[in-house]
C-alpha cells in the first residue's frame, strides 16, 4: 500500500496510456467494449486525482522522481495545488465527455474509426496530464508534441474534407510552435545547464544580468511557441476551423481543455523560471496585456458574424482565452486567481456548450444558429443547460462567469489599471449580443401551438450536459472553497 501511494503520481499517467494502447488491439474486433474499457481507465485516473488532490489540500507537495534519478538529471514529477486542480479538471471533464460520446460518436465519425478514436482520446488526455505535472522542460516539450499530435488526430477522425484541411493547418502551425518552444528551451539549457524548473530559476537569477538580449529572445521564443498552441489572438487562425470541423466530443476537449494546459505551462515558465521581474522588465507583460485585450474584443466581434453554431463557439473560445491571458499578465494576486478560476469555469461552459451543440445536431441535424426556433420546447433539458452556460458567458450574477469577471476587475484595480474594467464590461455586452439571440430564438419565436416534449436523445448524452450546467451554477453560488484553494496555488507564483 505504501508502495502504491508512492507510485500514485506515476500510475496516473501510465495506466491510461496502457489502456489506450491495449484498446488499439481491441478496436478492430470488439468495438462495443472499447468505450467501457476507456471509461474504466479515465475513471481510475479521476479517482487517483481525487486522492492526490486530498493530499495536496492537506498541505503536502508531492514529488516523484521517475526511475529514482534525482532532480538535476532525472525527470521530476511535481504535484502542487495548480497541478492537482488541473488533474481534477482534466479527468472530470474527460470522463463526462466520454460518457457523452458513447452514444453520439457513431453519428459523427466513420464506423470503423470509433475504436481508434478512443486511443487518440486517451493519448491526448495522458499527454495533457503529463504536461501539467512535469517539472522538467524537455519533458514538457515532448508532452506538448504528443498533445498536439493527439489533438490533430481527434480532429481528422471525422474524415471529411473540411476537417482534414483544418487538421493540416493545425499540424503545421502546432509544429512551428513547438519548434519555437524547443528553441527557447535550448537557449535556457545553454545558459543554465539545467532542465529542471527550480534549478533553471536558481541559475538564471545569477546570470540574467550578463545576457539581457538572451532574456528577450528566450521570452519571445517561448511566448510565440506556446502562444500559437494556446491561440493567443493574432496566432489563433488555426483554431476556428479545427475546433468547428471536429466531432463534438473532440471540440469539447480541444476548446475546453487542450488550449488551457498550454496556458498553465506558460504560467509556470513565466513565473517560476523567469520570475515576475523579468516578465515585467522585458515588456512581455505589456505585449500580452495588449494581445489579450485585442483577443477579447476581436474574438467576440468575429464570433458575432458567424452563423454556424460551432464556429461561433470556437471564436468565443478565442475571446475567452483572452480573459485568462489578461488575468495572469496583470500579475496581481486577484488577477492570477481569476485567470485560474476562468480556466475551470470556461472549461465547464465550453464543454457544456459544445456538448449541447452536439446533442442538437444529434436530434435535429441543424448547425446554423438561425434554424433553432422552437428548440426550447423540443429539447428543454439541452436548451436549459445551454441557457445557463450562455448566461454565465455574459457574466450574470449567480453564474460562474460572474465570479471571474469580478476577479478580473479586482485584479485590474490592484494593478492600478482600471481601464480593463471597461474592457470587461464591453466584452460582456458583446457576449450577450451573440449568445442571447440563440436563446431568444429557441424560446420565443416558435408561434403558439407548440407542445412541450422531452429531448429525444439518449440519457447518457443528457447527463454530462446537465452536470456541467450544475457545475457552473455551483461555482457561481459557492466559489469560496475553490477561491481559497486557488489563492494557495497562486502564493507559489507571487509573494
Amino acid at each position: 500500500m505504501d508502495h502504491f501511494l508512492k507510485l500514485m503520481p506515476f500510475t496516473i499517467i501510465i495506466i491510461p496510456l496502457l489502456v489506450g494502447f491495449v484498446l488499439a488491439i481491441f478496436a478492430r474486433w470488439k468495438k462495443d467494449i472499447c468505450p467501457y474499457l476507456i471509461l474504466a481507465g479515465v475513471a481510475y485516473a479521476f479517482m487517483i486525482s481525487i486522492l492526490l488532490t486530498q493530499r495536496v489540500i492537506g498541505g503536502e507537495i508531492i514529488h516523484y522522481h521517475v526511475g529514482d534519478w534525482l532532480p538535476p538529471w532525472g525527470i521530476e514529477i511535481l504535484i502542487d495545488e495548480l497541478a492537482a486542480m488541473m488533474l481534477l479538471l482534466l479527468n472530470g471533464c474527460s470522463l463526462l465527455i466520454l460518457i457523452f460520446s458513447i452514444k453520439s460518436l457513431h453519428k459523427e465519425i466513420p464506423e470503423q474509426a470509433t475504436g481508434w478514436y478512443y486511443t487518440l482520446f486517451l493519448l491526448t488526455l495522458t499527454a495533457m496530464m503529463g504536461m501539467v505535472i512535469t517539472n522538467d522542460l524537455f519533458n514538457l516539450y515532448v508532452m506538448v508534441e504528443v498533445t498536439g499530435l493527439g489533438a490533430c488526430g481527434m480532429v481528422v477522425a471525422k474524415g471529411e474534407k473540411l476537417s482534414t484541411e483544418a487538421t493540416l493547418r493545425y499540424l503545421m502551425l502546432a509544429t512551428l510552435g513547438s519548434g519555437f518552444l524547443l528553441f527557447g528551451i535550448g537557449f535556457l539549457y545553454q545558459v543554465t545547464g539545467n532542465l529542471n524548473i527550480p534549478y533553471i530559476a536558481a541559475e538564471l537569477v545569477k546570470v540574467r544580468e550578463q545576457y539581457p538580449f538572451l532574456m528577450w529572445a528566450t521570452m519571445s521564443f517561448i511566448t510565440v511557441g506556446l502562444g500559437v498552441k494556446s491561440a493567443l489572438f493574432p496566432l489563433h487562425i488555426w483554431l476556428p476551423d479545427a475546433h468547428s470541423s471536429a466531432p463534438s466530443p473532440s471540440s469539447a476537449v480541444l476548446s475546453g481543455l487542450v488550449v488551457k494546459v498550454y496556458i498553465v505551462s506558460m504560467l509556470r515558465i513565466y513565473f517560476l523560471v523567469f520570475g515576475f521581474d523579468v516578465f515585467h522588465e522585458t515588456y512581455m507583460r505589456y505585449l500580452i496585456l495588449l494581445l489579450a485585450s485585442l483577443a477579447i474584443i476581436g474574438g467576440s466581434l468575429f464570433a458575432f458574424v458567424q452563423l454556424n453554431l460551432k464556429r461561433r463557439l470556437a471564436y468565443s473560445t478565442v475571446a475567452q482565452i483572452g480573459y485568462i491571458f489578461l488575468g495572469f499578465s496583470l500579475g496581481t494576486k486577484w488577477g492570477i486567481v481569476a485567470a485560474l478560476l476562468h480556466i475551470i469555469i470556461h472549461a465547464f461552459m465550453k464543454v457544456c456548450l459544445f456538448l449541447a451543440a452536439g446533442a442538437i445536431y444529434y436530434q435535429t441535424g441543424r448547425k446554423k444558429v438561425t434554424h433553432f426556433s422552437g428548440l426550447g420546447y423540443r429539447m428543454p433539458v439541452t436548451m436549459a443547460a445551454f441557457t445557463v452556460a450562455a448566461l454565465s458567458m455574459v457574466g450574470i450574477p449567480l453564474f460562474g462567469g460572474f465570479i471571474t469577471k469580478y476577479g478580473l476587475a479586482m485584479g485590474s484595480l490592484e494593478a492600478n489599471n482600471p481601464y480593463f474594467i471597461i474592457l470587461i464590461v464591453i466584452s460582456g455586452l458583446l457576449n450577450a449580443a451573440y449568445y442571447f439571440p440563440i436563446v431568444w430564438q429557441a424560446y420565443f419565436t416558435s408561434g403558439h401551438n407548440v407542445k412541450m416534449e422531452l429531448d429525444k436523445v439518449p440519457v447518457t448524452m443528457l447527463i454530462p450536459i446537465v452536470i456541467m450546467a450544475l457545475g457552473i451554477i455551483y461555482m457561481g453560488i459557492f466559489p469560496g472553497g475553490t477561491l481559497e484553494f486557488l489563492e494557495r496555488a497562486v502564493s507559489r507564483f507571487i509573494l
Binding site: 524537455f138 515532448v142 508534441e145 499530435l149 490533430c152 488526430g153 481528422v156 474534407k161 473540411l162 482534414t164 484541411e165 487538421t167 493540416l168 499540424l171 503545421m172 509544429t175 512551428l176 519548434g179 524547443l182 528553441f183 535550448g186 539549457y189 545553454q190
Partner: protein
C-alpha cells in the same frame, strides 16, 4: 562585437539560418510537400543547435574506458540524448503530415494550397 568570437561559434549561426529558412518555407511555400520539408529543415536547425551546445572543443564520445588517461575531456551527452527524442517526434510529425496530405490529395486531386482553398 568581436567577429572572431562569432566565427568560433559558427554552428549556432548555421542552426539559426536553418531555423529561419525552415520557418520561411513553412509559411510561404504553397506546395504542401514543400511545407513538410520546411518542418524538417526547421527541426534540423534546432537539433544542430542542441548538439553544438553539448559539444566541447577536443572532447570525445562519453564512453568510459579505463585505458584512457584520467584528464581526458568528454562531450556532454545529454543534448544528444534529448535530440534522439526530438528526432523521433519530428519523424512522427512528418509521417502524420504526409498521411494527411495523401488524404487531401484524394479529396481534392491537388496538393497546391491555393487551389485547395479555392475548392472548399
Amino acid at each position: 562585437m568581436d567577429i572572431s568570437r562569432l566565427m568560433l561559434n559558427y554552428p549556432f549561426i548555421i542552426s539559426i539560418i536553418l531555423f529561419c529558412l525552415g520557418c520561411l518555407c513553412i509559411l510561404t511555400q504553397h506546395n504542401l510537400i514543400k511545407k513538410v520539408i520546411g518542418i524538417n529543415i526547421m527541426e534540423t536547425g534546432i537539433f544542430l543547435f542542441f548538439i553544438a551546445a553539448g559539444n566541447i572543443e577536443g572532447g570525445i564520445a562519453p564512453i568510459y574506458d579505463p585505458a584512457l588517461p584520467q584528464e581526458i575531456l568528454y562531450i556532454n551527452p545529454l543534448p544528444s540524448a534529448l535530440m534522439l527524442t526530438g528526432i523521433v517526434v519530428s519523424f512522427s510529425v512528418t509521417a502524420f503530415a504526409l498521411a494527411i496530405i495523401v488524404k487531401l490529395y484524394q479529396y481534392y486531386g491537388t496538393i497546391y494550397a491555393p487551389d485547395i482553398m479555392r475548392m472548399r
